[in-house]
């Protein structure tokens, strides 16, 4: 296999990580809604933690995306 096609396959494999982050982000928001509907009065106070969890989960997916871009455009 030549380097150019290996590069494309590698970038595609790296992009799988963004799907894993999608699961994580969905989990964060799903769990938040789940508990917010049980106790709506306490939901507003937890929004900061909601977006903190979202940011941390999303960052890992964005890192996978960065790796894919590095493989494609840098090497």
């Amino acid at each position: 296999m030549d380097v150019a096609s290996a590069k494309l396959i590698g970038a595609g494999l790296a992009a799988i990580g963004t799907g894993a982050a999608a699961i994580g982000v969905g989990f964060v928001f799903g769990q938040f809604l789940n508990s917010a509907l049980r106790n709506p009065a306490a939901a507003d106070g937890q929004q900061g933690r909601l977006f903190l969890g979202f940011a941390l989960a999303e960052l890992l997916g964005l890192m996978a995306f960065t790796v894919a871009l590095l493989i494609l455009f840098v090497f």
Partner: protein, 258 residues
């Protein structure tokens, strides 16, 4: 897109508008700097029009009060009463990132030869923003607590035999903060713009191909890109909020020292 080759990275090229050199340093006005200046002008106009201090606020003043009240709440909830003096800093970060993101979404590419540029889709810009907020955390931390600031690396109540494990983890997670802060904003903006560009070129090349399949692809891409555009506007606001939120949480660490 007559060539059929999609070039999604072209929109991120920094072009020189007004060449300017001092000695060996290149301080030319680039399109990145021009868009940041445009964002500053829009922020200034937005704030100035709403700061007339009318007793019965009009719509514009309500918008400005909503924005300032939002940041005030964010700081009060996350830092506490001692964080009030950092409200202007968080406000400046939030409005700057928000307006730069939104201006970058303007569909200016309708005018041939023009295209909107998002300075926050460059690591150099978001990196500087992250360094500013990280150094503020360091300065505030050492100013208020002196060398006691290092106790940040050992959360209170940790069993002492856990310390050799916890301290390296906390140090790494502390040092990684500016990178994660900068990387999140930069990659989120860049990924969104690449997505819009790719599907935008699908529309163009689909309709240009003249076949029934191409027409179908163009229609589907068009419907899709409307949704993606709405999502991107949400992401623009969300990333600005996340940046401000994380900065205030880090500041809260430095002020209150858990």
């Amino acid at each position: 897109m007559a060539t059929g080759k999609i070039d999604p990275m072209h929109q991120f090229t920094v072009e020189t508008l007004v060449p300017l050199h001092i000695g060996k340093y290149d301080i030319s006005l680039t399109n990145s700097a021009a868009w940041m200046l445009a964002a500053l002008a829009v922020i200034w106009a937005f704030m100035a029009l709403g700061m007339k201090r009318q007793l019965v606020p009009g719509r514009w003043q309500m918008a400005v009060e909503g924005l300032t009240g939002f940041i005030d709440d964010l700081v009060r909830v996350n830092i506490g009463p001692e964080g009030r003096k950092f409200t202007p800093f968080i406000f400046a970060l939030f409005t700057f990132i928000l307006f730069v993101n939104f201006l970058g979404m303007l569909p200016l590419a309708i005018v041939p030869g023009w295209h909107a540029f998002t300075p926050t889709s460059h690591f150099s810009i978001t990196g500087v923003l992250a360094i500013v907020s990280f150094s503020l955390v360091l300065i505030v931390g050492f100013w208020r607590h002196g060398l006691h600031f290092f106790s940040l690396f050992l959360p209170a109540g940790t069993p002492i035999w856990m310390a050799p494990l916890i301290i390296p983890i906390e140090i790494v997670s502390f040092l990684v903060r500016p990178f994660s802060l900068a990387l999140r904003l930069f990659v989120a903006m860049m990924a969104g713009h690449i997505l819009m560009e790719v599907f935008g070129s699908f529309i163009v090349s689909g309709f240009a191909s003249g076949t029934a399949t191409g027409f179908g692809v163009g229609i589907v891409s068009f419907i899709f890109i409307v949704g993606v555009g709405a999502l991107e506007l949400l992401i623009c606001a969300l990333q600005a909020y996340v940046f401000a939120l994380l900065t205030s949480l880090y500041l809260s660490d430095a002020i209150n020292l858990h």
